[in-house]
């Protein structure tokens, strides 16, 4: 059987059936299965971690190479009950974390501390930060949901949504993920805004963290670390500019793009009318807060 016939034969197979053929060492099945997930391997890191576009093709090469080297597809075990797509998603996610860790001098998880590089916008930043900190938990969550910033929900906020909607935390997490997916599939503008904000925020803070970690050890830094710092400074400045531009762009927008009440009411398990009242009350409270902050 030639390559084309093989491909035609396997195109009808389910992912799970192809994974079983991978176990038997049939390379054409592996090729077909990998081909089906190329887009997912490429785009998933951006969707889940806000990965930089310039890193995506490097990761694609890394991931495919590792999957093939380690015969990963043959390790899928259907008896454990997970669908192949869910299982491979976890594989891609873990590979991305490995990939990030393998990048020189770029530790993945460093606790956030204030930026060591003060910028002109820091004053404006601190006013914004106080506003959010002083806001009640309920209002904070409502604003984050309304502004499609579910990416930035923290654990307390997720628990609050679970409590309010009388759902388990696990069910709530699923509902949040579905809301994101619906927003992503929705209006183009909303999608673009959602992706852009997530990405800009992620990279700005990540570079700040990395740079700060390197700075702590400046006295003993090797030549290579100094070079890494220089590179990180350059990247941070670029992201900072991009971030400021997005904020300016948003300020310049006549209308603000917000998530549909229908979707949010469903997540919070309340009526649209109640949600509308809650939103207006939160806006009024936030306006008072801002006024008092400015007076100070």
């Amino acid at each position: 059987m030639n390559k084309k016939e093989h491909q035609e034969q396997f195109s009808q197979h389910t992912d799970e059936a192809l994974a079983a053929l991978c176990k038997e060492g049939i390379e054409a099945a592996e090729r077909e299965l990998l081909g089906r997930y190329m887009q997912a391997i490429y785009w998933l890191p951006q969707r889940i971690f806000g990965a930089e576009e310039e890193d995506l093709s490097g990761f694609l090469i890394y991931a495919v190479e590792k999957i093939r080297e380690r015969d990963t597809l043959a390790k899928y075990d259907q008896t454990k009950g997970a669908r192949f797509s869910t299982w491979i998603g976890t594989v891609i996610r873990n590979l991305y974390l490995d990939y990030m860790r393998s990048q020189p001098s770029e530790p993945y998880n460093i606790e956030f501390e204030e930026s060591a590089f003060p910028t002109q916008s820091n004053r404006r930043d601190s006013e914004r930060k106080s506003l959010l900190e002083l806001m009640q938990l309920k209002c904070r969550v409502i604003f984050k949901l309304l502004l499609c910033d579910t990416f930035f929900l923290d654990s307390e906020e997720i628990k609050w949504i679970a409590q309010e909607s009388e759902q388990s935390i696990i069910q709530t997490s699923e509902n949040i993920a579905r809301l994101e997916e619906n927003l992503r599939q929705g209006e183009d503008k909303l999608k673009a805004r959602y992706d852009k904000l997530s990405r800009a925020y992620y990279w700005k803070t990540t570079y700040e963290k990395r740079l700060h970690a390197l700075e702590k050890n400046l006295e003993n830094a090797t030549e290579k670390e100094l070079l890494d710092m220089k590179e990180l400074e350059r990247k941070l400045i670029k992201r900072q500019r991009e971030y400021e531009n997005i904020l300016d762009e948003l300020s310049g927008m006549g209308g603000i793009i917000t998530a549909p009440y229908r979707e949010l009411a469903k997540l919070l398990n309340i009526s649209e009318g109640t949600l509308a009242s809650n939103i207006s009350r939160c806006r009024a409270a936030a306006a008072d807060l801002l006024r008092s902050l400015r007076k100070k």
């Binding site: 889940i48 797509s85 869910t86 998603g89 976890t90 959010l132 925020y201 939103i279 306006a287």
Partner: protein, 261 residues
């Protein structure tokens, strides 16, 4: 100043585009008649933008905490796939209510699963589809200790992005192999690097190459030559690089500058 004719709730729904057509007409009319309402509307808009920025500025603290009681990957997959028993579900729920690390991990896994199962992906960028990098599907077998062998430097190519030349071309040979390099200016800060690999003047596919920054050896590209023996590396920034060809056991020094030094 007169009190506003419109309530905050009406204005709030106006901002969020949640009004029916008739409501929208009514409120738009009132807005033109009532400057106080219009002022209030602008303040609410500004406030919403301000809050949006605050959210972006509030960095979530990532946690590395991982204890023996934490959920395993298999546990999480079972939760995500609704395979957990009620008892397991209860236990997991109790744990994530108190463990920030696992809660965020569960959410991240659910996000991944929802994305994977919705299968709603953009197309791959054209250069990935058409370019040689698609040949990643081919198996790459690397010798062990590949980083330890020393390769021979067979030449150097320099390009200043601020020079008058929009691109340069240079050819390097070792035995029957030839590497042709074209550096093109994309902007004052970015170049592209096109490499063609030939064996006895015929295109050679599936040749592994890496581009690393020197010193430091930070890898910025790894790929295989595709059809026509070509590889295109986009978005190369000013720096000193080493281009390594495994097959040729050779290194070419590539120096791209922006003229600032």
């Amino acid at each position: 100043m007169n009190p506003p004719k419109l309530t905050i709730e009406e204005l709030s729904r106006f901002i969020d585009n949640e009004l029916s057509k008739s409501e929208l007409e009514e409120i738009s009319r009132k807005l033109t008649e009532c400057p106080t309402s219009e002022q209030l509307l602008n303040r609410l808009r500004e406030l919403t933008q301000q809050v949006s920025s605050s959210i972006l500025n509030a960095a979530p603290v990532e946690s590395n905490a991982n204890t023996e009681e934490c959920l395993s990957e298999d546990d999480i997959i079972r939760l995500v796939e609704h395979q957990a028993s009620p008892a397991e579900l209860y236990q997991a729920e109790q744990h994530i209510a108190n463990c920030r690390h696992c809660l965020l991990l569960v959410l991240q896994n659910i996000r991944t699963a929802v994305s994977m199962n919705s299968n709603n992906w953009n197309e791959l960028p054209e250069e990935i589809r058409a370019d040689s990098r698609i040949s990643v599907v081919s198996r790459i077998k690397r010798p062990q200790h590949c980083c330890e062998h020393t390769s021979e430097q067979i030449g150097e190519i320099r390009f200043n992005l601020n020079s008058n030349k929009p691109q340069i071309f240079q050819e390097f040979s070792k035995g029957i192999h030839t590497a042709q390099l074209i550096i093109k200016r994309i902007s004052a800060e970015i170049a592209s690097l096109e490499i063609t690999f030939l064996q006895e003047n015929r295109p050679k596919t599936q040749i592994e190459m890496t581009l690393t920054i020197t010193p430091g050896d930070k890898q910025v590209f790894r790929g295989l030559t595709g059809q026509n023996g070509k590889t295109l590396i986009r978005r190369v920034q000013p720096n000193n690089y080493l281009l390594r060809f495994k097959e040729l056991d050779a290194i070419i020094s590539v120096i791209i500058s922006d003229g600032s030094e």
